[in-house]
Amino acid sequence: MLRFIMNRLLVVIAVALTLSVVAFFLLNIAIDPAQAIAGEEANFLEIEQVRERYGFDRPIAVRYLEWFSGLLQGDFGTSYYWNKPVYQLILERIPETLTLALMSLSVTVLVAIPLGCAAALKPNTMIDRFALGIAVSAQAIPNFWLGLMLIILLAVIYPIFPVSGDKTLYHFILPSLVLGTSSVPPVMRLMRTGLLEVMNADYIRTARSKGYFGWKLLIRHSLRNALLPVVSVLAVQLGHKFGGSVITESVFAINGLGRLALESILGADIPTVQILVFIFAFTFLALNLFADILNVYLDPRLRK
């Protein structure tokens, strides 16, 4: 088990290294950092002055090593746009994004898993069709549209929830619904097909022959087996929610990492953007690792 984790950890480190290279090089090649700092109206001389002052005239590999060694020592760099250390910017925004990600994942789990189970237990019935209908609509509806509609309906016409902002947990309910809905289809479908397969397995017949039926059969003998693939997908979905909530955060004016990313991109703030890209990707990796470990815990066949 420990070996498995060590192996995976090494892979994560290797991928993270590659990621840091890609994040750094792409951004520094795509945008001229000196131009970005000096501003649109700056003349050639001013740009060159900035280039020299910030050391942008040195080779890109040298700058990368400098940046990466800083990263390892906890120095995330300083934002040109916000005039603040990047780590401070990120620390300020993390709670909002984390709250949104976890709440929307709860929405996904609470909707998709029971719905998937119900659909699998009664295949080709009204319940199954209903679940499929929900999955198709959730997949087809864009996040921003659903967000706007929910605001109009539940915040403007029937003012139950606040329109936007991130002051209290109450503010997070509507955005979590929006972000959570987008993950319902894949999770629901996987739950349904997984459980359908499990319910036809020989060991379920064995469990029936022992006297299990109904809910007890589902909980004691099918759920754990069917959840194995779902766990991996949930981890990926949580990664999406952590890094991909740019639109939802903008629609609901939540000051999270997604909005920070958007604003930094618009402001051509390379130090912040490259750290954010790195963080989003790293979160993804970490969550996948976590899912792998969870899978090993749930499935003894993977333990060797």
Partner: protein
Amino acid sequence: MTEPLLKICNLAVSFKTHYGQLEVTRGFNLTLNKGETVGIVGESGSGKTMSMLAMARLLPGQAYVSSGSIQFAGADLLDLNTSEFHQQISGKRIAMIFQEPMTALNPVYTIGRQLTETMLLHENASQAAANKRAIEMLEAVKMPQAALRMEQYPHQMSGGQQQRVMIAMALMNKPDLLIADEPTTALDVTVQDEIIQLLVDLQIRFGMAMIIISHDLGVVSRVSENIIVMCKGDTVETGKTAKVLTSPTHSYTKGLLECLWKLEDAHGIAKQSSTAAVLSVNNIEKTYSISGGLFRKSRTIQAVKPTSFSVFSGETLAIVGESGSGKSTIAKIINGLISTDQGQVLLGETPIENMSDKDRARVIQPIFQDPYSSLNPSQTIGYIVSRPLHIHNTIAASKIKKKALETLEKVGLSSDFYHRFPSQLSGGQRQRVAIARAIILEPKILICDEPTSALDVSIQEQILDLLCQLQKDLNMTMIVISHDMAVVGYLADRVFIMHNGEIIESGEASKVLKHPETDYAKKLMASVYSVPRAKIL
């Protein structure tokens, strides 16, 4: 007269289909007293399993009991609703064991949990009491180190051990009736013997009634005093096992026995064996390594220890052994599907590794075990059979169809089959297609890996006959890989017995099968059940 434990009257099971109701069994009757055993015999699709699943309420979704009654210990089982049935009967008074122990146990829970829950579900017992009972039962099924097994998972055990766990699980609540559905079909013959013996012993010890379902007359004749023979959903014969097997009245039973005996009698006509070796295997060796990760040592398994032999032109060589003996690895090496670590395989004079896949395929063709999965479901029979001709360009394109039709005819399939798809064919017909595909290039060597294990007894005989006939007509050399002594006896001129990657005994078929010398070979032969014979017809 005491009331029988189980009395099934006129039971019929039907399937709901798009075209209406389809009856799969009808008029099934069975009476079983406490402590008695009955065997149900029939081929796949005969309805033997359906009748039992109906009784245990394990029928698949579309199937239902369409008529009849099932009296068990004085109550009509069909009158009970689902929860009553599961609470009072299943696992408690009627227990079941299945064919595939690997898939019948839940892979994610420990043996201990799966054993104890059976008791906890039906009795108000403590976990400690359930653990105690579970260990007792594991000991009853002769599981070595019973107490340590409780923490193990199914995949950490061998097939035989898994089946023992299944049996222990069925016994947890000391049921009145045990239904065993093909309990040994998925196991090696030597293990089969142990499990059957165990079932007989346990039945006496616990005083259970037992219903054993099998396609193997040998197994049934060994354990049960009464027998029911089923065919296509009908009960064709019932009675005392000894009587039914010695003086069958129904033509189906007679035919079944004839096939069996014909298979058992090694035909022993030693063919003129030439001394020219078509294939020589020199010191081949294969070791599989199970790779570790960065921090784990990789483990190695020696599947084939250094082995040499020659195959002579026109003969049939059988390689016999249990799963894991290395026989399939040798077949794969000769087929060029995997490479050897050491040594080489010579085809005539040429090392097989120096030949291109195409050249090798011209000379050596395989027939695989499962015709259900070895044919591409999306291609027509005509395409499948003629494909080798297209690849090898041995004859003009205009003649390919004619040749394919001729070859189909050789394997006993009419030209109607040319445009059909594999899914429209029976198992026996599919295996004929696989044979046609293999012989269309007129190879010198045919490698048959368990050519009939996936088929019913009556079909087995036809396929084996066909192989014999084709071998003679086309003057091919055959290498047969099998665990089934009857098949080997029927086909082989020479036999190799493999055990743990080595050939431990070899010689003429009649000699090796009838008078084995090594202990392992003796054990292997002894574990084959034969059916008591008498003159019939």
